[in-house]
Assembly symmetry: C2
Homo-oligomer: 327 residues x 2
């Protein structure tokens, strides 16, 4: 049995996980004041679960951050106070069991693959930016230094808009298929057409929010639908590329914007159909993420279980445990 | 000891390979008349090497073809009479040892990685079309069904020219960075400018050959240099994407056009520098392929050695061999 920990910008969720089955799921609001307070908050939730289920073989932690996976150090984070923190070591000391730390998009992709029982999966997470995770032969793919699978930063149009993320490129996937791209396009359109519905949705910050674009499109506003038509077309072009390059069994769309999938998924798949190599596309299913709210915990736990198993396999004499015997 | 076989459109090259060291390299012209004659020709060269070095543990074969790797069946080929041929089985019967068959671009990438001693490598092969191979953790990456890593078919410009290959897309890498793209651009330019040097290079088929564009660019012809400027810019955009997605230790440019690398490589790297995520680019070396003419044989042999090793590991009691003992 291992624990899965999902650290988000609003809550820290923890559960005991066997395979992909979740027990004793528990959560607290994320403490954002300081790094120390955040770690104390994580420790408190984890300890409540340990009191109920006993000491786990390992703990997996997913965070919204760039990770040096080899050392378990959080380099930078989006919404939480973790920058340059050796999180694996810090939490390992607090709990006295092996801890493994990964990016939340990697954890979500791993959960999705294991929930579906498939070995080859690519997940694009559409949120404020565009992230992703790649599972190959059932394992998370990270590139040579653990920084790979930056799936949001493949170029779709060399002369496109600047990437809104921390990226020097123009016209990459994040420049078209992210919440920030929706906001940019809606704000430009609202400025050009002061009588439009989107112009009335301009906020105090002078921007139309992604949420407002989604709402307008759901109400049938032609300007918002036009924006989503472009979003969907560019997403489909990206999907075709990832079918050709990775040939996964499944190409999954996750992240917050996947909840608006009814506004773009069919059109995106149509575009991918027109562009991907037919022999490869035939063998790939493109679909919205199935994992639900537990995916972050499950993926972190699957990672921890895989790492424990790999360590046992590499050093059978010194680390023989029930996990290895059960293989 | 294993044998590596490189089947090309003009010659069949065979050698005994230990690690990445080649012994008794031998070659014959490829017999192109019929499938049976081609197979007899391959058998004859291989038998000559076996007479000198003894029976190998396995034979690896690289072919310019689409392969169903699981069965070793050649589905289609570019320049040789192999279509729907169960090559692995056919050659296995002839030699009485395990045979493994892979695409020549995969074999070249595997050779390059092992010659350089690195585990993560992406190779783009620029020839008539654009192919490639991906090595992850020292092994060839193939996707879920062995059809993946079609690196030439990622979109660079959604409204670009139709892909000249057997691909429904517009504006993919092959539409910009292939020999066929050079020919297309040069022929268009020659037609528009009847007094140009390229117009004088128009062949009897009404086309300017890739070779003629290279020659004109080497002589400083501004039209040919303009074509290579665009070629290099688009290649750099592709390289940036593959740095971000795969984060390899090395991104290698191979294939026939790599011999004209002096006309485009520096400019392509400059473009990649402007677009790739800096933390990833810093850790990736972009360079021309180092493997030379033996790379095809070496890659096929490395593959065969890996497969023999994997089989011994999976079934140690029934397949214990000297290869396993030597580990």
């Amino acid at each position: 049995m291992v624990l899965g920990v999902d650290v988000g910008g609003t809550k820290v969720a923890v559960a005991a996980v066997e395979g992909v089955t979740v027990h004793e799921a528990t959560e607290d609001p994320t403490v954002l004041s300081t790094t120390g307070a955040l770690l104390d908050g994580i420790e408190a939730v984890v300890q409540r679960v340990i009191e109920r289920v006993g000491k786990p073989a390992a703990i997996g932690v997913g965070v919204p951050s760039q990770i040096d996976y080899a050392t378990g150090t959080v380099e930078t984070s989006v919404n939480i106070p973790l920058t340059g923190v050796p999180l694996r070591e810090e939490l390992g000391k607090r709990f006295g069991v092996p801890v493994f730390v990964d990016n939340d998009a990697n954890a979500a992709a791993l959960a999705e693959a294991h929930l579906l029982g498939i070995d080859h999966l690519v997940m694009l997470t559409l949120g404020t930016g565009v992230g992703g995770g790649v599972v190959i032969d059932g394992k998370t793919f990270r590139g040579a230094n653990g920084l790979g699978a930056e799936l949001g930063h493949m170029t779709l149009n060399p002369d496109g808009p600047p990437c809104p993320g921390n990226c020097p490129n123009h016209g990459c996937i994040e420049a078209y298929c992210s919440g920030q791209a929706l906001e940019r396009d809606a704000t430009e359109l609202a400025t050009d057409k002061p009588d439009s519905r989107l112009a009335h949705a301009l906020g105090d910050d002078g921007k139309v929010s992604g949420r407002a674009v989604v709402q307008a499109a759901e109400d049938g506003d032609p300007d918002a639908l036009f924006i989503f038509e472009n979003f969907a077309r560019m997403l489909g072009i990206a999907l075709a590329g990832y079918v050709n390059v990775f040939q996964p069994e499944r190409l999954t769309i996750g992240g917050g914007l996947s909840r608006a999938g009814h506004l773009f998924l069919d059109r995106a798949i149509q575009e991918a159909d027109n562009r991907a190599l037919p022999a490869l596309l035939r063998r790939t299913t493109i679909a919205l993420a199935q994992g639900g709210t537990n995916a972050g915990m499950i993926g972190a736990a699957v990672l921890a279980a895989q790492e424990v198993e790999a360590q046992n396999r590499d050093t059978p004499r010194t680390h023989a445990t029930t996990t290895e015997r059960a293989e």
